[in-house]
Symmetry: C2
Subunit: 574 residues, 2 copies
C-alpha cells in the first residue's frame, strides 16, 4: 500500500509502465516526469506526420479513441501525478529521491520514491562534422523538431533536402519529403548499403534501386564531411567525400545512442556502449531502480549477446514487464530478435535476427539462402515476386535471421512475424521447413516463402546445392568472358534466353530449356564451370542435381535467379 | 541403388514426394500413378478458377514458370515414370507390388516397389439425403467438376445456386458465384455458425454479416433435407428444414473424408475416423509404405491428439518429409495446428489451434480474450479494426488458439503466421505478450494485436478483469431491463452514448465518460451489476479496476466492445 513510484520519461516505456502500475496497484502514488511538454507520442509516426499522411501532430499523441494523451489525460483518466517540462537532474539512491528542475521556472524539487523507473530513451548521434548547428539542420528526436520541419516544408521553404544516414528513419524521412511534398531529397550513406545493420546487401540493393526509381537520390559509400551555411547561418550545402549538394534542409539520421547520463551519474551499471544494464525483470544494478526502452540493452535471442534495439515495439513490451515487477507481479522480458518492418514507397522490407555479416561477426559458420518466390499462389491475379534471405549456421543448422522485400502491403510482415517466434526459440532449418504457415491462394503459396527458404537452406547445408555468391555473379556479368573457364547456362524458355544470347554470345550464354537437359546434357562443356540460371533458382537447382548425376560437377546455381538480379541496381541485363 | 519407388496419387503430397526422391536419389526409379488424367493441380484454387480470377484451369496445374505439370512434364523435366488414368486396385505387401488397372483400357499391371507411398487424398462427404445424384449437383473434388461448373455458369445456365455447407470451400464457392458472375447464391449450414471447426461463433457471426452484406444468403441451423429435380432429372429445388429454395445448381461442400480403402484393404492400420495411421516419419504400420496428405491423420500440436487436417499446405510439407525418408534422409513431421486463412469478399478470416469449443471438448479449462484493435498505428490513414479471439487455458496459462477477422489483405495472415509457431511450441500467455512482432506505423501498432490479445488474456487469467460473455450481452440488449439488477455503463464520449440513451433510456444506459469516472463514480448504483462498455474494451477494463478499487465490485467488461458488436448480425444498435 502507498507504494510511491517515480517514472522518468513519458514517451513509450515510461507511460506504459506508469499506467500498468496504477492499474495493478490503484493505491500506488505514481509520478510521471518528462522534460518535454509534449509527451506519450508515437515517435515512429514522425515521418508520416511530416509527409502529411498524419495531418496533425496531435494524432501522434492521441489514443485510438481520439483522446489527447496530455498531462490532464494522465492525471484524470489514469490517476497519475504528472510533472512535464521537468528535468530530473540527479538520483539520490541513499535517500531514494530524485532531484528535479523545471525547465522554465528553474524550480527544484526532491521527490521521494520507493521504486524508480528510468525510461530516458535515446538521443540522436551527431556526427563530428562542421555545420551541424546551422539553421535548417535537424535530428528526428522529438515532436518539436517534426513540427518545425513540416512547418518549413508547408511554407515552401524547402525545395531540396539532404538526409545524412541511410537507416530506416533517414529513408522514411526522404520518402516523406519526396512522396507528398515533391521536395527533392538525397540520402547520403557512409556505408556501402542502405539499412546496414538490418538487412544484407542484396535486399538493400533492391531497395536502393526502388528508391531511385521513385525519385530519390541515394548515395552510398559516401561520407558527409561538412554542412556549410549561407550568410544568414542557414544550411545551404552538404559537402561529401565526392560532391557538394545544395539544399535548404539537412536531416541527420545516423543513429541514436542510449540516454544514460542520469543512470551513470547515480552509479548504476552502464555498459561499454552506454546503455543501462538491466536483468530480465528490467531491474538495474540497484534493485529498486528499473529501466526500459531505448536507454537499455537487451539480450539478442539469436546471438546471446547484449544488443541495443531502440524500437518502439520493444519499449512498450519492456515497459509493461517493468510495470508488472514494480507492482509486485513477477514478470520477465527474455530479449528480442530486432523484428523490423518498413515501407519504402511501393515496397516493404523487413527483417528479424542477424544479417549474414552480423552472424559471421558473432562467430557463426553462417551462410544464406536467397530466394525469390511469388508471394501468393502463382495463379492468383495479385501475385508478385518477393525476395528473401535466410541466414543459417551450417554447423548447427540453426536459423539465425530472416529478411524479405516485396510489394507494399502486409505480405512481408506476415513472413517476418512468422519467423520471429522461431528465431526466438532457436529453431533449426527443419523447424522452418515444416512450420505451418496459413495457406489460401489469395494470401500465400501452399509452400510458404518461409518454408521454401528453409528448403533451399537445407539443400545448401547438406551440400546438395552449390551456389555462386551474387557479388561474384555480378562481377562475371560485368566482365563476360574474362574468366575463360566459366560460362552461363540458361535453363529458362529460349524466348527468355535469346536477348541474353544476343548480348553475350551463344558461346558464353548457353541455353538449354530446363525440361530438355536430361536428354541434351552431353551438349554441355564438361571442362567449364557453368553458372545455372533461371528465374527463381529452383529449376537451376534441379538441373544441378541432374548434371551432378551425369558427372558434370562444376556447376553453380544462381540463387534467387534473374528475379533478384533484375530488381537490383545493375545495368548489364538486356 | 536402383531404389524402386511407387507413389499413388499425383495431386499434392504425391508429386512433392516423387520429385524430391528423384532429386535426392537420381538413380531411383520413381513411378507416379493417378486415376485421373489431370494431375498436380492447386485444388485450393478451384473457387478462383470458377470465379474467373484464374481464367484457365491450366494455370492451376502449371508451375510458377508457366509450364504445364502434365505427364510429359513429370517424365521429361523430373525424370519420373508416369501412369495417369490408372487406378491402383490392390497392394500385395508380401510380394511388394501394386496392382493397377487403366481406367479406359482396363489393362492390368503388377508394379513392384521397394518403397510405396500412398497419397490417395480425400473424398467429399455426401450427406444421406435424396437427390444427390441429380444433374447439376456437384462436389468440389477434382478439376473436371470445376470445369463443368464454370462451363455451365459461363453458358448462362445458372441463375441461382445453393451451397450445402458453410465451411471454407462452401463460402469460397458461394463468393465465386456471386462476386464475378452475379449468380444468386445461398449457403445452407446445418450448424449454428459458419466455419464451425475453425473459428468461434463471434467471429463467424461477423463473417456471416459481411457475406450477407455482400449479397449472399446465409442460412444457419438449417438442414438440407432433399434435393429435388425437374422432369429432366436436373436439380431444381433444395428442401431444407425451413423452406424450399429454387436453384439451377447445388454444390455439396459438407467436408471430406480420407481415402483409405486401398490402405485398409492391404491391412494397414487405419484409424476409427478412416485415416491412415502414420508415425512422425510418415510411415504406415508397414515400414516400407509411407502415406501423406489428406489420407492421413496428424498430431495436433496443441491438443496432443490425432486430427484430420486436409490442407494443401500440410500435404506438401508431409510429402517432402515422406520423400526425404524414402530417399534415406531421416526427417520428421511433428504435426500441425491447422493454420487457416480465407478470403470472404472484402474481409479475411484466419485461425490456428483450437477454438474455445474444441478446447473445452479436449478437456482444457479454456476461456477467451476477445479484442478489437486497430490493425496498424491508429493514426495511420489506412488503419482499420480487426477482431481477434485468443483461446487459453486458465490453469496452465497456455495459449490454445488464435483467430482473427479483418479487412482483406495480409494483415490477419501476419497475425496467424505469428501465432502458429508459438502454438506449435506450447507457448503461454506471457510468451504471446512479449513476442516481438515487427512494428512500423503503416503495418502495425507498437503493441501488436497478438500482444494486446495476450495482455487481455493475462488480465482475465489473473482475474483482474471480468467479462460478460458476448451471448449474454446480446441477450440483455435484446431484452433491455428484463434483469432489473443489471444496467449498462457507457464510458465513451457522450456523443457516442447519446443514441443509446435515446433508445434505451438514461436509467438503463448510464453514461459517464472514461476520464471522469475517477471523480464521478459515486453517481453509480453500487447495488447493480454494471456492464461497462466502450469501443474496444480497453477503457472498460481500466474503469473496472477503478471501480473495484472503490468497492463497486459488480462490474463486467464487454470484451471487444462496440467495435465487435456493430460488426455482428444484430439489429438492436441505434
Amino acid at each position: 500500500m502507498g507504494n510511491k513510484v517515480v517514472v522518468v520519461g513519458a514517451v513509450a516505456a515510461g507511460p506504459k509502465a506508469a499506467v500498468r502500475i496504477k492499474r495493478l496497484d490503484p493505491d500506488a502514488d505514481v509520478v510521471l516526469i518528462d522534460q518535454d511538454n509534449l509527451i506519450s507520442y508515437g515517435g515512429c509516426g514522425i515521418p508520416y506526420y511530416v509527409s502529411g499522411d498524419v495531418p496533425d501532430e496531435k494524432e501522434l499523441r492521441s489514443t485510438s479513441f481520439h483522446m489527447l494523451r496530455d498531462e490532464p489525460f494522465f492525471e484524470k483518466a489514469k490517476g497519475l501525478t504528472m510533472m512535464t517540462s521537468t528535468r530530473v537532474t540527479a538520483i539520490n539512491r541513499d535517500r531514494k529521491t530524485v532531484i528535479t528542475e523545471h525547465v522554465v521556472t528553474g524550480d527544484v524539487q526532491h521527490i521521494a520514491y520507493d521504486k524508480l523507473m528510468l525510461a530516458t530513451g535515446s538521443q540522436p548521434i551527431i556526427p563530428p562534422i562542421g555545420g551541424v548547428d546551422l539553421d535548417g539542420v535537424f535530428t528526428i528526436n522529438n515532436l518539436h523538431t517534426a513540427i518545425e520541419i513540416k512547418d518549413r516544408i508547408a511554407k515552401g521553404l524547402v525545395g531540396k533536402a539532404v538526409v545524412i544516414g541511410g537507416g530506416a528513419i533517414g529513408i522514411e524521412m526522404a520518402e516523406a519529403f519526396k512522396d507528398l511534398w515533391g521536395v527533392e531529397a538525397t540520402i547520403v550513406e557512409f556505408k556501402d548499403q542502405l539499412l546496414p545493420s538490418l538487412v544484407d546487401w542484396e535486399l538493400a540493393d533492391i531497395l536502393a534501386r526502388h528508391l531511385r526509381d521513385s525519385g530519390l537520390e541515394v548515395l552510398l559509400s559516401e561520407a558527409a564531411l561538412e554542412i556549410t551555411g549561407d550568410g544568414d547561418g542557414r544550411a545551404c550545402t552538404v559537402k561529401t567525400s565526392r560532391r557538394e549538394i545544395d539544399c535548404d534542409m539537412v536531416i541527420i539520421a545516423v543513429g541514436v545512442r542510449p540516454r544514460s547520463e542520469l543512470a551513470a551519474a547515480a552509479g548504476l551499471h552502464v555498459s561499454m556502449s552506454g546503455a543501462i544494464v538491466v536483468n530480465e525483470r528490467m531491474q538495474t544494478s540497484d534493485p529498486d531502480i528499473y529501466a526500459a526502452g531505448d536507454c537499455v540493452e537487451i539480450t539478442n535471442l539469436v546471438s546471446g549477446r547484449r544488443f541495443f534495439a531502440p524500437l518502439g515495439s520493444l519499449a512498450n513490451r519492456q515497459g509493461r514487464v517493468a510495470g508488472d515487477n514494480i507492482a509486485g507481479i513477477p514478470s520477465i522480458f527474455k530479449g528480442g530478435v530486432g523484428s523490423f518492418i518498413m515501407k519504402g514507397f511501393d515496397m516493404s522490407i523487413g527483417s528479424a535476427g542477424l544479417t549474414l555479416r552480423a552472424a559471421r561477426e558473432a562467430g557463426f559458420d553462417a551462410d544464406i539462402s536467397l530466394t525469390s518466390p511469388v508471394d501468393r499462389a502463382h495463379f492468383y491475379p495479385t501475385q508478385a515476386i518477393a525476395c528473401f534471405i535466410m541466414v543459417f549456421d551450417r554447423r548447427t543448422r540453426r536459423v539465425l535471421g530472416f529478411q524479405g522485400i516485396g510489394p507494399m502491403g502486409d505480405g512481408i510482415l506476415a513472413r517476418i512475424n512468422g519467423a520471429a517466434p522461431l528465431l526466438c526459440a532457436g529453431a533449426t532449418i527443419e523447424d522452418f521447413a515444416t512450420i505451418e504457415m496459413a495457406y489460401s491462394p489469395p494470401f500465400s503459396a501452399a509452400i510458404d516463402s518461409i518454408n521454401a527458404a528453409a528448403y533451399v537452406a537445407d539443400n545448401l547445408c547438406d551440400r546438395r546445392m552449390r551456389t555462386i555468391p551474387m557479388a561474384e555473379f555480378i562481377d562475371h556479368m560485368k566482365n563476360p568472358g574474362r574468366d575463360p573457364g566459366l560460362v552461363m547456362l540458361d535453363v529458362r524458355h529460349p524466348k527468355q534466353a535469346q536477348p541474353f544470347i544476343d548480348r553475350f554470345g551463344a558461346d558464353w550464354w548457353l541455353s538449354i530449356p530446363y525440361e530438355e537437359v536430361r536428354e541434351r546434357f552431353r551438349e554441355l562443356p564438361a571442362d567449364k564451370t557453368m553458372v545455372i540460371i533461371c528465374n527463381a533458382g529452383s529449376r537451376s537447382y534441379e538441373i544441378q542435381v541432374v548434371l551432378d548425376h551425369h558427372g558434370y560437377a562444376n556447376t553453380l546455381v544462381l540463387a534467387g535467379g534473374i528475379n533478384v538480379v533484375k530488381r537490383m541496381n545493375v545495368d548489364f541485363l538486356p
